[in-house]
């Protein structure tokens, strides 16, 4: 026992001994971490897949298509060099709806928005996938906390002129929150960007899926 005045062998006072003990503990910890990682990998991948499918089902009503849009996502290149992910719903060979995953900087950090459109570009639904906005103020963009986000439903670039895609403070059509303008402004901008991407990429979006789905991972 340490610290009880028991005479210890001299090797226990050498740095190499301490290093050895720490090294052994690190090896053990590494083993446990590897076991934990392997043991949870499949479950976590499954949960993330379920999350994606649940979000997709909220913005693309299931009855519109018969494929699994989370397979074979389409990557649209953006000017900034990064790609924008689009999940496409097909009924047979006919495109029936697209879900755009758009990112936009908010008040604090990036807001990830999933925007569901019909093949013609009318909004089916919008959901925020993740954000780090101020709790109690900016988080009203979550469907679970406020129905603000439902206000996009049914709109399109045809039904609402481009200049109107802004919060009311900026002369647009959409409410801001009391005490938080930047957050809803970012969401509106994300939705508008998704709509413009849809308009500019009609051909690529409607391109049929591959016959044999490849493993996307």
């Amino acid at each position: 026992m340490i610290g009880k005045g028991v005479l210890k062998p001299s090797y226990t006072q050498r740095p190499a001994f301490f290093a050895g003990i720490l090294g052994m503990m690190a090896a053990l910890a590494g083993t446990f971490l590897a076991m934990g990682f392997v043991g949870t990998k499949e479950a976590i991948a499954l949960r993330l897949q379920e999350d994606l499918q649940r979000s997709l089902a909220q913005v693309l009503p299931l009855e519109r298509y018969d494929n699994d849009p989370s397979q074979q996502p389409l990557l649209l290149p953006l000017d900034s060099g990064v790609s924008l992910t689009v999940y496409r719903g097909f009924a047979g060979a006919a495109p029936r709806g697209y879900a755009f995953e758009v990112q936009e900087p908010g008040y604090s950090g990036v807001i990830r928005v999933l925007l569901g459109l019909t093949e013609a570009g009318e909004i089916l639904g919008v959901r925020v996938l993740s954000h780090t906005e101020t709790p109690g103020l900016g988080d009203k963009i979550e469907a679970a906390k406020d129905d603000w986000i439902l206000g996009f439903n049914g709109r399109s670039l045809e039904s609402l002129p481009e200049a109107q895609w802004a919060v009311k403070k900026d002369g647009g059509q959409f409410d801001q929150f009391s005490g938080a303008t930047i957050t809803p402004r970012a969401v509106v901008r994300a939705v508008k960007r998704g709509l413009l991407m849809h308009r500019a990429n009609q051909g690529a979006l409607a391109a049929p899926l591959k016959e044999q789905p490849e493993d996307t991972l």
């Binding site: 026992m1 340490i2 610290g3 226990t12 001994f17 301490f18 003990i21 720490l22 503990m25 690190a26 910890a29 446990f32 971490l33 934990g36 990682f37 043991g39 949870t40 479950a43 976590i44 949960r47 999350d51 780090t132 101020t134 709790p135 109690g136 103020l137 679970a144 906390k145 009391s178 005490g179």
Partner: protein, 225 residues
């Protein structure tokens, strides 16, 4: 066997006299970061409690193996491993809760109160008292997180335990109260400065209470993180 579990001094120390937050002033970073609502505080508290207990158990079990000279890196290694495993397991099997707390779970490693208990208690005591100490300190931390979260939430948003059902399950809708209907909100309380202010008031209140009861002077270990 039961004596340690029922040891009133350990519990009194952990929850009140030597409370992690209100007396030791430790673990302030997770505390100030997550207590925008009482629900977030409760979730963070529950996960921290699990880590408190597991870290104390491990350290007191291994204390014969860990040389005193390298105990601190050994503790850090143990705690970091535990937290990473908890993070992975919660992501896999408690995915909803992980979604709510996800960002803050890795930060439990930086909760120096856990390292503090490993050093100050578990390294010097047997397994069972260490287990009780972990439970008591963790409970004290939950009390602190929920008190601060509730105070900030009521003043800042006019609600109490909002979204508790997201954390605890559908059966807990009854906990979600709106205390002040049509409240405009008090932004300062939701933002970090509100956490500092409210913590100051609570600590002052506890000291006044302690003085009234003429208990022994509060033990304060000078530390910060």
């Amino acid at each position: 066997m039961n004596t340690a579990l029922l040891d009133k001094t350990l519990w009194k120390e952990g929850v009140w006299d030597n409370n992690v937050v209100f007396s030791q002033m430790l673990a302030l970073c997770p505390l100030l970061a997550v207590t925008g609502t009482a629900t977030n505080g409760l979730g963070m508290g529950l996960v921290s409690l699990a880590v408190f207990v597991a870290a104390n158990l491990l350290v007191s079990t291994l204390r014969g193996v860990i040389p005193a000279e390298v105990r601190i890196p050994a503790f850090v290694l143990l705690i970091a491993t535990l937290v990473t495993l908890v993070d992975l397991m919660m992501n896999a099997w408690m995915h909803e809760l992980h979604g709510v707390l996800g960002l803050f779970i890795p930060l439990i490693v930086t909760n120096c109160a856990i390292l503090g208990r490993a050093e100050a208690f578990a390294y010097k005591n047997r397994v069972l008292p260490s287990l009780v100490d972990g439970l008591a300190m963790g409970s004290g931390f939950i009390v602190a997180l929920v008190t601060l979260g509730a105070a900030r939430e009521v003043i800042g948003s006019g609600t109490l335990f909002a979204n508790a059902s997201l954390l605890l399950g559908e059966g807990f809708h009854f906990m979600e109260l709106t205390l002040i209907p049509d409240y405009d909100g008090f932004l300062l309380m939701i933002l970090p400065p509100g956490a500092f202010l409210m913590l100051g008031f609570i600590v002052a209140g506890k000291r006044v209470l302690a003085r009234r009861r003429r208990t022994r002077p509060l033990v304060s270990q000078p530390a910060a993180c």
